[in-house]
């Protein structure tokens, strides 16, 4: 029942959106090759899926994204737990982190090419960069916020390092880390496009660039929609994961979505 209801909503929502889009096209009266309407984009989508190359592009993007994101998650969580525990060390590293964080991955491009070459690696590096900081910072702050009671319990039951870290700190911080993973997923997916601008010859980001250069706004919009749908799908997945963690850990349910 609930399922049907939500499909109904998505359907109505989609219809409204397409109608609005069509109206914008009609009222602005730009040449359809500059601002394509829904029909044109629909045909582009059909063509892209018909030729089948798009599946390869999706696969390549997902591959790069998965590697970059998972590497970032792994290293940021480990580093975050460590730095969160050794607060004095972090106090010295923090200014650098804060300085580097607000810089667009695009700005690093020349150095990324210099150090990592072209092809898959720079895309992975950019996804890594954009996922790394949110996860690192949320892990560090999570360690700082660990309920002191858990540490007392650990002390009381003679639990020593490294078990305090693996048995207590890591699971205790996990919900907040999961939240960091969620945020990082969103922001690094956004940078997929930027990442695949550098010498990639495949992938959704490459398609965006290529469509722009080929002045094919219909393919451009079709690719945008594909990126949006996959992003939405990934977000739903990780929300689900996060919700399970929250329930398991006994956090109160968040306000209804």
């Amino acid at each position: 029942m609930k399922y049907i209801h939500s499909i109904k909503r998505i359907f109505i929502s989609g219809t409204l959106f397409i109608a609005l889009w069509q109206i914008i096209c009609w009222t602005t009266d730009f040449n359809p090759s500059l601002l394509p309407g829904p029909v044109r984009v629909w045909y582009a989508l059909i063509q892209m899926f018909g030729e089948g190359n798009i599946l390869n592009d999706i696969q390549d993007s997902m591959y790069r994204f998965a590697i970059g994101y998972l590497l970032a998650a792994l290293s940021a969580i480990i580093l975050g737990l460590t730095l969160g525990w050794f607060k004095e060390i972090f106090a010295y590293i923090n200014p650098i982190v804060q300085l580097l964080r607000p810089i667009s991955p695009i700005a690093w491009m020349p150095f990324i090419v210099l150090l990592f070459g072209i092809g898959d690696v720079p895309a992975i590096v950019i996804i890594f960069i954009s996922a790394f900081f949110p996860i690192l910072l949320s892990t560090i702050s999570a360690v700082g916020n660990v309920d002191k009671m858990y540490l007392k319990v650990a002390d009381n039951f003679d639990i020593k390092q490294p078990y305090v870290l693996t048995k207590i700190i890591f699971p205790a911080t996990f919900p907040q880390i999961a939240n960091g993973l969620h945020i990082a997923l969103g922001s690094s997916w956004i940078f997929l496009v930027a990442g695949e601008m550098v010498g990639s010859q495949t992938g959704l980001g490459y398609l965006i660039i290529d469509a722009r250069n080929n002045l094919r706004t219909d393919i451009l919009l079709a690719t945008i929609i594909i990126i949006g749908v996959i992003g939405l799908f990934l977000d739903t997945l990780i929300s689900q994961f996060e919700k399970q963690i929250y329930t398991r850990w006994g956090y109160e349910r968040e306000g209804k979505k």
């Binding site: 007392k152 009381n156 006994g250």
Partner: protein, 247 residues
Amino acid sequence: MYIDIQGLTKKFKRGEQTLMVLDNISLTINQGEFICLLGPSGCGKTTLLNILAGFENASEGSVLIDGEVVSTPTSRYVTIFQNYGLLPWRNVRHNVELGLEGKKISKSKRKEIAEKYICLVGLDKFANSNPAQLSGGMQQRVAIARALAVSPDIIFMDEPFGALDAMTRMKMQDEILEIKRSQNKTIIFVTHDIDEAVYLADRIIVFSPNPGRIKEIIQVQLKFPRDRNGYDFIRIRDKVFSLFDIH
């Protein structure tokens, strides 16, 4: 004398100021006694418990337990907190096994011990439940089972029933007395509920605040189970009330 506190003083730095929280506390406790620390909020009960359990150091004075100076926490003296201190990512069984994991005990033995104490607190059916699925009283029972599992000599309890509603609370009081009787532990129990103290304690240590001092020590020589509305109970209760200027 099993626990021997001599001239214990505790000061906290607060910015520029020094706050004296405990002032020259001296007290001795025998093995197997049930001691209640009673006093208004902020009088230093938790601080005293933390020092006894080794979580904090005294500023002055000494604490000896079983002849040894207390320096760090150990599983020989286990503390039970108001918010239970359960690990929400572990189910009941694994929470109870927590204190056994550091010891050289085989897995099957560990499971056996855990099950024994889970049964003791009457949660056999919930061994695989997560803490979040249990009521407050049940969670506190898990914490008690976890504490008993490591066979401690002393159990410190810091307002363990403070988060429970009045009726559940009274049931838990009966349970903890039963456990005390069967396991014969020394229990130091913090509360600010006068009825609770009179119902449970062998001796009530009444504190006055600012700075925390022992105001009076009341012997409760009533037999168990005590009648909450019996004459002697009310007489002692009355005495404590008057110590706090309540009528």
